[in-house]
């Protein structure tokens, strides 16, 4: 008998505002604590009213009603007591206290309770509270904060502290004329504090895509007016957030893809809707190298190709960034994957990434081989463009789907309905950004990419790093078609 006391504490690798945003919500536990299956506040009160009662249904079927006794946004303290429970914890009063760890911007979380227990059950109940509730809660919340899955992302009830920040100088690549890689020069820019809806990111890794080459060459002047900065994606750390942004905090690691070019810079303001958090097991360079290509592979295979077991997929440039991902991912779905490449060395890479058959050649001659291998392709993912127009048509099976992803040899001419009707073909000309038009869509696709990485369905790309100032070298490398990995620029 006697008063039992349980104390547990831990360090959470997140700023105190972020941890408190979750813990101050007396009704949040069913979102993050695996012990709690359901939570509801009685009498339609809000969860921050002192005296409100929460009604828990635990995962093991027990019921607990707890009353909020005190709540302090000043001291980050929440105290509560059990008013009724199917477990024999009597006179149970618990206090959660958070304190900032100023050395490292982390959080100290202290959880203490006192209670009385029936004779003989003291130790079991102490263990249950200490391990089953407090320590499990530490692990659950760390997991919840780190993964920040979109459907469960906490909406902080307190405004996060924002760096009221001044403008910051940063390096930037500027294109003053369309043309050769050498037109891209390093300059210095001033990045203002983030506006409403924006986050300011200190970039650590910038993904380089073939699309950036098109922009540099001036194929889409409306998209990148001069002087301009190319680049569609990057990863980094949030410096500060705009006035109305509550879903991210300074210090969060994020990766983004943004339909407005301009990622070849050291620091950038981007709409929060273009960002998604990087899970702890993914490095910044991998995230920057993967996001746009991974999203592309995801919508190609899932939304457009409807790829399933037995689907015949023809992917051009199968050893390229998107090609590797598409090949590996499609193969993991049970598809028959045929790739085209320009050299025997690239054929080896394509096979290594899941291509079942590889056709080698530089002269856009592949339709005969496809017909021999599998009597035509159900899905053609075409990055070649006009020079391979007739061959792609010939390579498609009846009712096939021609997806025009890129136009390396020049814009496709005359894809007329009367031509497609000869084989009941479908033709698509997708843009990745339309498939991530909302943050929820981006989060969902990103989560599938990270999951595919973890399960080994796709591989983290081999990254070739270049300094930001050497963006022109990276473009030369990309256009030389010598690289088999993903190119990433490092601003610092």
């Amino acid at each position: 008998m006697g008063l039992q006391r349980v104390v547990r504490s831990c360090i959470v690798d997140a700023p105190i505002e972020r941890v408190w945003a979750v813990l101050r919500d007396f009704n949040s536990h069913d979102q993050w604590h695996t012990v709690v299956a359901q939570s509801a506040i009685e009498d339609n009160k809000t969860s921050d009213r002192v005296g409100c009662v929460r009604n828990f249904t635990l995962a093991d079927g027990n019921h607990v009603r707890e009353m909020l006794l005190s709540l302090s946004d000043k001291d980050h303290i929440s105290t509560y007591t059990i008013v009724e429970a199917t477990v024999p914890l009597m006179r149970y009063v618990a206090t959660v206290t958070l304190k900032p760890v100023t050395d490292g911007n982390r959080t100290f979380w202290h959880w203490v309770s006192t209670f009385e227990a029936p004779v003989g059950m003291e130790r079991d109940l102490r263990d249950m509270v200490a391990h089953g509730v407090y320590e499990a809660g530490f692990a659950n919340l760390k997991n919840y904060l780190a993964l920040g899955s979109p459907s469960k992302a906490p909406m902080p009830l307190v405004q996060p502290v924002t760096n009221s920040g001044a403008a910051i100088e940063a390096p930037a690549i500027r294109l003053r004329d369309y043309g050769k890689p050498s037109e891209m020069q390093l300059e210095s820019i001033t990045v203002p504090p983030p506006a409403a809806g924006q986050v300011r990111i200190r970039q650590t890794a910038v993904g380089v895509n073939y699309f950036d080459v098109y922009l540099r060459k001036g194929w889409m002047p409306d998209f990148l007016p001069l002087p301009g900065t190319p680049g569609m994606e990057a990863a980094g750390e949030v410096i500060d957030v705009g006035p109305d942004v509550t879903s991210l905090l300074p210090g969060d690691r994020v990766v983004y893809m943004c339909p407005m070019p301009g990622s070849y810079v050291g620091i950038r303001n981007v709409p929060v809707a273009c960002t998604t958090r990087i899970p702890p097991d993914v490095r910044d360079e991998a995230a920057a190298a993967l996001l746009l290509k991974g999203v592309t592979a995801d919508y190609l295979l899932r939304d457009l190709g409807h790829v399933k077991s037995g689907t015949r997929v023809l992917i051009h440039a199968a050893a390229g960034g998107v090609g590797q991902l598409v090949s590996a991912w499609a193969a993991s779905m049970g598809a028959l994957v045929v790739g085209t490449v320009s050299t025997p060395e690239k054929a080896r890479i394509a096979r290594d990434h899941g291509c079942h058959h590889v056709i080698v050649g530089r002269h856009y001659q592949f339709s005969q081989a496809i017909q021999t291998i599998c009597q035509g392709a159900d899905v053609v993912i075409d990055g070649l463009g006009n020079a391979a127009r007739e061959e792609n048509f010939a390579a498609l099976a009846r009712c096939g789907h021609w997806i025009s992803l890129g136009q390396a040899s020049g814009p496709l001419q005359d894809i007329s309905p009367d031509w497609l009707v000869q084989k009941s073909l479908t033709f698509s000309r997708p843009v990745a950004f339309d498939y991530v038009a909302t943050q929820a869509a981006l989060n969902e696709r990103a989560e599938r990419i990270w999951q595919a990485l973890r399960s080994g369905h796709i591989r983290s790309p081999e990254v070739e790093l270049f300094a930001l100032r050497d963006a022109s070298l990276a473009h030369e490398r990309l256009e030389s078609r010598q690289s088999a990995g993903s190119l990433v620029l490092r601003p610092a």
Partner: protein, 147 residues
């Protein structure tokens, strides 16, 4: 009233850290900025009200009075009686709390004081980083070699 708060995590048990810093006369042993220290009037260093008389490595003399000491809460509070810093009504508290996860120690060092308005930023920085954080860094280094 200016408030300064610095906190850190030290990879040692609170017991071990406390035994290194509990002695009000032990600053020169564990804090790299302190050159020497003695307790005035031959008093024991855990007697509430005793005064420590010490020099910084740059030569400055400081006298501080022990206001509170708790072996139960791992807490030590003291006030400045005399110093070259230009602070008044200076009261500081050093507190340790065990981190049960990993057997570590959460250390907090806070101070309240008054000073000339023009020196608030400089003194907050000097005390929070130059004194408190430097002390924590020294403890972290010391215990890093002993685990």
């Amino acid at each position: 009233m200016i408030q300064v708060y610095t906190s850190s995590v030290i990879d040692a048990t609170a017991d071990d850290v406390w035994s290194r810093i509990r002695d009000f006369n032990a600053l020169p042993i564990w804090h790299p900025s302190i050159a020497d220290s003695r307790i005035e009037n031959n008093q024991p260093s855990d007697r509430i009200g005793c005064v420590r008389y010490f020099h910084l490595r740059d030569g400055g003399l400081i006298r501080e009075r022990l206001l509170a000491l708790s072996d139960y809460d791992f807490t030590c509070s003291y006030s400045i009686l005399e110093s070259p810093m230009g602070v008044e009504n200076y009261v500081a508290t050093l507190k340790l709390t065990p981190v049960t996860d990993g057997g570590r120690c959460f250390a907090e060092w806070s101070a309240e004081f008054d000073c000339a308005a023009s020196r608030e930023t400089e003194l907050s920085q000097m005390i929070g980083q130059g004194v408190f954080q430097v002390g924590f860094d020294a403890l972290k280094r010391y215990f890093a070699t002993r685990r």
